[in-house]
């Protein structure tokens, strides 16, 4: 690897006020598109492409990658403060981010989210650097067989996310899986549960689902309870810069988790076809699974914010790899970036390793620098954002509801999606009210289609023998381990509680 080339690229960016000012401009734009539900990074990139058109390749590509890199950093803000995910992958952050806000720890939660996003983004960039030589064999190892089993593995995480009642978790998870079957059957083209409504042909929209299941119930609950999002007195709560710094510190305090989830995120990002939603939920599940005190999750555990946020940003680094070196985009956002790169005169594909490594390094550095810049910018505004959690419900609810409905509409540009949002919001409210876990619903909805689609493909390609592929066997091992670990945890916990209760007598 040409080390001087790598650092020359860094100098090209840092040494040029023009490039640095482009970064400074791109970062807030990217965060804005992430923070408004329904907009998202893809639309952001499409809208700025005309402005990038006249720039030279380096500047244009740097601007686009910086903007795209920090979308999820922005997306975490409404997740944490209002329970409204800015983008689909930011939904997992709600599960613990919102309870932290309620406890009056909005500042810390935001700090943790920004810190984790920045950390994940940088690790994602380093991951690319480290993995360049091994890229091809690893990416090509993942066929529909492994996709199917990876989705199954994700589905087993439902058990971890069920909280106190496995039965309730499974029921909600299966409800989510059922909703995943609303679409045109990918194999036969038959309409399934679509009631002849065209907007259901492509399935239940993930954005409407997460807004309905998480955001609407929070707003109804807030309206019913009165007061503000934060349930504690303003004086007793933490929202100063010190608390934001404490949140950032949490990322490093849990450095093992942060590194693991960053790597898992980057890895999932690298494999085209799995998507960002899967990455953040699988990482959230992993955080619960690997915690010594899993019962804290869902009630405001800072690790529950760190895990999905690291994954959200690190996966962008991962998905840059197949985009640049195979010209096969790792995500739909990257597909649009790929088109824009081509317009700028950058030719992705294996030949880039021979002719265009300079632009590759620039993109990697741009990705990392944007993530770091985003954290610095947010530290400045985070205390002010934290104050939003003390806005009275009657002022906040109309604003958030408009944002929610607008988000659902914009996501697929269909008014029917707002009806769907209202219906799912009602279901979500009752789930919340009667203390049923909501995350399994999203896991079922997101991973169901991946599992179904890849199962069909694997069966058409190899028949049942697909389960015997080496990668598949490893994944099966992981699934068995995951279930075994859960059973072990449950048995030891039960023994412990029996032992404790006997002690009481």
């Amino acid at each position: 690897m040409d080390l001087s080339g790598i650092f020359d690229a860094l100098l090209t960016i840092v040494g040029s006020p023009y490039h640095m000012s482009l970064l400074l401009l791109a970062v807030p734009i990217g965060m804005f598109f992430g923070a408004i539900p329904g907009l998202g990074g893809k639309l952001g990139v499409v809208l700025v492409i005309p402005f990038v058109f006249g720039m030279d390749a380096t500047a244009g590509a740097l601007f686009l990658i910086a903007m795209h890199a920090v979308v999820h950093t922005g997306g975490s803000v409404p997740s944490i403060l209002f329970g409204v995910p800015g983008t689909g992958p930011d939904a997992a952050t709600i599960v613990d981010g919102l309870p932290m806000t309620r406890k009056g720890e909005a500042g810390r939660a935001l700090g943790a989210a920004f810190g984790a996003s920045g950390f994940g983004g940088v690790i994602g960039g380093l991951f690319i650097l480290a993995l360049l030589p091994l890229l091809r064999p690893i990416v090509l190892q993942f066929s529909p067989a492994e996709f199917f089993l990876l989705a199954l593995f994700g589905i087993t995480l439902i058990a971890m996310l069920s909280g106190e009642s496995l039965v309730k978790g499974l029921m909600v998870g299966f409800f989510g899986l059922m909703m995943a079957f609303v679409n045109l059957d990918p194999q036969t083209g038959t309409q399934r549960y679509t009631f002849d409504l065209l907007f259901l042909w492509d399935g239940i929209d993930i954005i409407a689902a997460v807004l309905g299941i998480f955001a609407i119930p929070e707003m109804i609950a807030l309206g019913a309870a009165g007061g503000a999002m934060a349930r504690v007195d303003k004086a007793a709560a933490s929202h100063g810069r010190a608390d934001v710094m404490r949140g950032i510190g949490d990322v490093f305090r849990h450095w093992r988790l942060s590194i693991r989830t960053s790597l898992i995120g980057a890895f999932i990002g690298m494999i085209p076809g799995l998507g960002g939603d899967a990455a953040s939920w699988i990482c959230y599940g992993h955080a619960v699974q690997s915690s010594k005190t899993p019962e804290r999750f869902g009630k405001g555990a800072v690790e529950g914010v760190i895990a999905p946020e690291t994954a959200n940003n690190s996966k962008e680094g991962g998905s840059l790899l197949p985009t640049l070196f195979f010209a096969v985009p790792g995500s739909s956002g990257m597909a649009i970036l790929l088109g824009a790169f081509v317009m700028l005169g950058i030719q992705p594909g294996p030949a880039i390793a021979l002719t265009g490594m300079e632009i590759v390094w620039i993109l990697i550095w741009g990705l990392m620098l944007a993530n770091i810049l985003a954290v610095m910018m947010f530290i400045l505004v985070a205390p002010a954002l934290g104050y939003l959690s003390y806005v009275r419900g009657n002022l906040l609810i109309p604003f958030v509801l408009i944002l929610t409905f607008l988000g659902a509409f914009l996501a697929v540009r269909a008014w029917e999606n707002m009806v769907l949002l209202a219906a799912l919001g009602t279901i979500g409210y009752f789930l919340k009210k009667y203390d049923w876990p909501r995350p399994p619903f999203v896991i079922g909805l997101i991973l169901g289609p991946i599992a179904e689609d890849s199962y069909h493909k694997a069966m058409s390609l190899w028949g049942p023998a697909f389960l015997l592929r080496p990668g598949a066997l490893i994944m099966i091992g992981l699934i068995v381990l995951s279930i075994g670990f859960y059973v072990y945890q449950q048995v030891t916990n039960r023994r412990k509680s029996i032992w404790l209760s006997e002690d009481d007598h």
């Binding site: 809208l47 058109f53 042909w201 739909s332 597909a335 390609l461």
Partner: protein, 330 residues
């Protein structure tokens, strides 16, 4: 006081009315035109619409041309939205002409007749090609025609234009293929790189990078000409086979079409066609499209309408064959 009020209202009304007619007879002057795109932002249809929209604005002297993305149901949502839009000349749209298949076989969801649209023009064709993976034993058309084992073809989901094209070509040329649906976007290319599926039939431009990178090669083309690559028509031996290949060719030629809703007043359709033509012949647009690597091969109004009609008018036997090819798999 009241007189002043009445006079002011009258004046405002007069100005408002004159807006309709001053403008030196130009209806579009200071108005907004909606350009419906049947896909998400990003991708070919969106890119063409944004590019052409910019120049239409200038050539219509409109206030703005606003892109409205209405994705869903394989371009059906966009097409139906356009079909039902108010035919006042202020709405136009673009969608995938693969919808022709649905109309030919009479799918119940096709609640519209493509003949009734007011066709404005098309920006380019999208010639189709078969690309084979370099890991596959099939190296050329002769290998494919002589294959004893079914050759694995990937395609997008059932009902998609890509699936229908593949099934129709397989029927026309009597190919021994196993079409595996569900490969959206670039998933098919990844699958070819892994050595799973052998080939894909798709729009030629989408394979450029794949082929340039050395992962595969083109072995057949339909609806366009590529040096050294045989044309599907050369392999069609019967009249029926030629008719079937001709349908795919026509769809390939139609490519990126633009239409207005049925019933749009004739004079406004003419203004739209003229502005569309002026836009696509503008050297600046051509230069921009070149940088974006989007080919421009325009056709206008009546010519596009004739292409649509020629694809739709099929004998009952051909319709039965198409139906069998597309629905038989279900």
């Amino acid at each position: 006081m009241r007189h002043v009020l009445i006079r002011s209202v009258a004046l405002i009304l007069l100005v408002a009315c004159s807006q309709e007619t001053t403008d030196d007879g130009n209806f579009y002057h200071a108005k907004n035109v909606s350009y419906i795109v049947a896909t998400d932002p990003g991708g070919g249809f969106d890119a063409y619409a944004r590019l052409i929209g910019k120049y239409l604005k200038k050539n219509l002297a409109a206030d703005n041309v606003i892109i409205r993305n209405t994705p869903g149901a394989g371009h059906l949502v966009g097409a139906i939205t356009l079909f039902r839009s108010k035919p006042d000349g202020l709405t136009i749209g673009t969608f995938n002409m693969g919808l022709i298949y649905g109309q030919i076989v009479g799918k119940p969801v096709h609640t519209f007749d493509l003949r009734e649209f007011e066709w404005i023009g098309k920006a380019s064709g999208e010639p189709r090609s078969i690309v084979v993976s370099n890991q596959c034993a099939i190296k050329n058309m002769e290998d494919l025609m002589a294959a004893e084992e079914p050759v694995k073809f990937g395609s997008a989901g059932l009902g998609s234009a890509s699936f229908s094209d593949t099934m129709l070509l397989a029927t026309a040329l009597d190919l021994n293929v196993d079409v595996i649906p569900g490969f959206e976007g670039t998933e098919g290319e990844m699958s070819m790189m892994r050595g799973e599926i052998c080939a894909i039939l798709g729009s030629t431009s989408s394979f450029t990078q794949f082929v340039d990178s050395g992962y595969g090669s083109l072995i057949l083309t339909i609806g366009g000409e590529i040096d050294g690559i045989p044309n599907a028509m050369d392999f069609a031996e019967t009249e029926q086979a030629r008719r079937l290949v001709a349908i795919i060719e026509t769809l390939a030629r139609l490519g990126r079409v633009t239409a207005a809703p049925p019933g749009t007043p004739k004079d406004r359709v003419e203004s739209l066609r003229a502005a569309y033509k002026a836009s696509l012949e503008d050297p600046d647009l051509i230069a921009e499209a070149h940088t974006m690597r989007r080919p421009i091969e325009p056709a206008y109004g009546e010519e596009v309408y004739q292409l649509v009609v020629s694809a739709l008018d099929q004998t009952p036997e051909i319709v039965a064959m198409i139906k069998k090819a597309i629905d038989g798999a279900q």
